[in-house]
Amino acid sequence: MELLPSTWYILISALFLSVSSSVLGSILFHKKQALIGDVITHAVLPGVCIAFLVFREKNIFWFLVGGSSTAMLATYIVQYLHRKKVLSEDILLASTLSIFFGIGVLFLSYIQQLPWGNQSGIDRFIFGQASTLSLLDAQVIAIISVAILTLFILGFRAVKIWVFDIQFAGTLNFPFKIVEALFIVFLCLLVMTGLQSVGIVLMSAMFVLPPSIAHFWKRSFTGGIIVAGLVSFVASAFGIMLSLLVPHIPTGPAIVVSLFGVLIVSLLLGKYNSLYSKLKAKKRHQDKIDEEHVLKSLYKLMESIKTETVDIFALHKATRMSFSRIEKICKKLEKRKLIKFSNNKIQLTPAGKAASKRIVRLHRLWELYLSEYLQLPEDHLHESAEDIEHYITPEVEAHLLTIMNFPKKDPHQKDIP
C-alpha cells in the first residue's frame, strides 16, 4: 500500500494526540477524576455550534475558542457546585454533560435548517473522521501537544505534588491554582483538537483507556505515562489504518475498539493486577504449600518409622494427594536436590532434611506463638499453623525465635527441631 502524504500527517497528528492525551489522562486517572474528561468532551458541542452561528463558516480557530469556552464553563460549574455541596458529584457530572450536549443538539438542529447551514464540518466533530484532517488541523494539534508536553516536563515536580498530595500542595507557597487552571485549559484545547479524528463521544476514551491499560503494566507515574502514550499511539495508528483500508469504518471507534482490545489483553495478561498475575501467584503459592506439605510429611514419616526411605504409597496415604501430583512435586524437589527419587522410593538429601525440618519448626513455632501471645486454646493452634507456616520467611522465623528466646518445645510438648 502506498501512503498518501496526508496519511503521514494524520499519523504524526495521532502520535502527538496520543502522547499528550495520555499525559493529561494519566493525571485525571491518578486524581480519580477520569469522568471530568467525559464532561469536557460533551460540553464542546454548544461552543462549536455557537462559533459556527456567529462566524458562519468552519474555522478551526473559532471552533477551538468556542468549544473550549463552553467546556471550561461546564467544568467550572461542576467544580463550583460540588464545592458548594448543592448536589453530589456524580449528579453534577451526569447532568452537566447531558444538558450541555442537549443544548448543542438544539443548536445543531437549528443550524441544519438554515439556508447556509452546511453543517458537514460540525458533523465531523461528533464522530470524527481522520481522513479529512487538513494540514492546518495537524499543525494545530502539533502546537497544542508540544505546549502540553513542554509545560508538563517543566512543571513535572509541581504536577506530581498536585496530583498525589493536594493537601501538602496547599501548604506550599506555590500557585497550584494556576496549575489547575492551566490543566483544565489544555484539557479543553486538546479535546477540541482531538475531536477531528476521534469524535466527541470517544475523545474521552483517549483519556481514560490508555492510563487504565498502563495500570496493568507499570506502577510508577512516569512509567505509566510512557506505557499509556505508547499504547495509545500504536492503537491510534492501527485504528487509522483500519479506517482507511476498510470502507465504512469510522476512525474514532476503530481507535477505541483497538484500545479496548489492548485493555482486555492487559486485564488478562498484564504484569500487575491481571488475571494471569493473580493465577500465577496463586499457583505459585499452592505449589509452595504442596511442596512443603510433602517435605513435612516425609520428615514426619521418617521420624515415626525411623527409616531413611519412604515409598510413594506411604506418602500418598500421609498427604492425601494424588499420585500424579506427588510425582510432579517429587520431581521438582529432586531438581532442587532436596530429595532422591527413584523407583517410587524417596530419600531426603541433607539439604532436604534441613528444609523439611524447617517446615516442622515453623509450624511448631507458630503454634507456640499463638499460644503464648494470642492465648489461643490448644485445639485451635494446628489449623492456623497449617496455613501460616507457608508464609513465614527466614526473617520472620529469626524474629519469632528471638522474641520467644529460642524455644525447645511446642505447646503440645513436641520438640521444635
Partner: protein, 290 residues
C-alpha cells in the same frame, strides 16, 4: 394536530419512565453508571435491530437489556477484582461498548436503516411513522405503547419494592442486615434502566437520555422533603419540561429532545439557586424573610 399531541405525550412519558428510576439512581449516587448504560446498550440494540429491522421489538429490549447487564457487571467486577478505580472502569467500558456499536452501525449501514445521528440525538418524528393498527383503525404510534408498557413496568417495580428501595438507597448496610437482597434489587434496577434507555432511544438518543435520568430527578430532589414527593414532583417536572420543550422546538424550529433537555437545564439552574434545601440563594432568601 394529532401528531403534535403524540410528540408531547411520548416525550412526557419518556420523562416519567426515566424520572422514577433516576430518582433512585441519583439517591444512590450512581448517576455515572446510567451514563455508562445509556451508551453501552448501543451494540445490543444494533445487533437486535439487525435481525428484526424494527426499533420497537421485544428483541431490541432483550438485546439492550443484556448489554446493559454486561456493562454493569463488567464495570463492577473490573473495579473490584482488578483494582481499577471505578471512574476509570466506567470510562473505559462504556466508551468501548459505544465504539463497538458505532462500528457495527457504520459497517452494516447498507443493511441497517439506523444512522449515527439518530443514535446520538434521537428523532422524535421517526416515532410517529410507525403506527399500531387495530382492526384497521390507527391506534397511535407504536412507540407510545412501548413507552406506556415500560412506564407501567417501572411503576410496578417501584411500587412493589418501594420500602426495600427506600431502605437500600438510604442505608445499604442496614438494608442487607434486615434481609433485603440488595444485589438483586440493584441489578433489576439497572436492567430496567437499560430497557427504559432503549424504549426512549428513538425519542432522545443515547446521551440526552442521561439528562432524563439524572437532571430531572435532581430538580425534584432539590425541592422535596420525602421520597414519594420527589417521585411525584419528578413526573410533574418531566411533563412540564416535555411541554415547554415541545413549544420551544416549535417556535425555533429545533430538535424536540434538545429543547426538552434545555428546559430541564433551565429548571435545574433555577432549582440550584432557589432550592429551599441547598440553594445557592438560600442564605440570602432566608435572611430576607427574617
Amino acid at each position: 394536530m394529532i401528531s403534535d399531541w403524540w410528540i408531547i405525550v411520548n416525550s412526557a412519558l419518556t420523562a416519567a419512565c426515566c424520572g422514577i428510576l433516576g430518582s433512585f439512581i441519583i439517591l444512590r449516587r450512581m448517576s455515572m453508571l446510567v451514563d455508562a448504560i445509556s451508551h453501552a446498550v448501543l451494540p445490543g440494540i444494533v445487533i437486535a435491530y439487525l435481525f428484526t429491522e424494527s426499533l420497537q421489538s421485544i428483541w431490541l429490549l432483550i438485546g439492550a437489556g443484556l448489554s446493559g447487564f454486561a456493562t454493569v457487571w463488567l464495570i463492577e467486577s473490573i473495579a473490584k477484582r482488578y483494582n481499577l478505580h471505578e471512574d476509570a472502569s466506567i470510562g473505559s467500558i462504556y466508551t468501548s461498548m459505544f465504539a463497538l456499536g458505532i462500528i457495527l452501525i457504520s459497517s452494516l449501514a447498507f443493511r441497517v436503516d439506523l444512522d449515527q445521528e439518530c443514535v446520538l440525538y434521537g428523532e422524535v418524528s421517526h416515532t410517529l411513522f410507525d403506527v399500531l393498527v387495530i382492526n384497521g383503525k390507527v391506534a397511535g404510534p407504536k412507540a407510545f405503547y412501548l413507552l406506556l408498557g415500560i412506564f407501567i413496568i417501572n411503576l410496578a417495580f417501584v411500587l412493589l419494592n418501594y420500602k426495600q428501595l427506600k431502605v437500600m438507597s438510604f442505608d445499604g448496610v442496614f438494608a442487607s442486615t434486615i434481609g433485603i437482597s440488595t444485589s438483586i434489587l440493584h441489578y433489576t434496577l439497572m436492567g430496567l434502566v437499560s430497557f427504559t434507555t432503549v424504549a426512549s432511544f428513538e425519542m432522545v438518543g443515547s446521551i440526552l437520555v442521561i439528562a432524563y435520568f439524572t437532571a430531572l430527578p435532581a430538580i425534584a430532589y432539590l425541592f422535596s422533603y420525602s421520597l414519594s414527593a420527589m417521585l411525584r414532583l419528578c413526573i410533574l417536572t418531566g411533563i412540564l419540561c416535555a411541554v415547554s420543550g415541545y413549544f420551544i422546538a416549535l417556535w425555533w424550529g429545533v430538535s424536540v429532545s434538545g429543547a426538552t433537555v434545555l428546559s430541564m437545564g433551565i429548571c435545574l439552574l433555577v432549582a440550584i439557586f432557589v432550592s429551599p434545601k441547598k440553594g445557592l440563594l438560600k442564605p440570602w432568601l432566608y435572611a430576607k424573610s427574617k
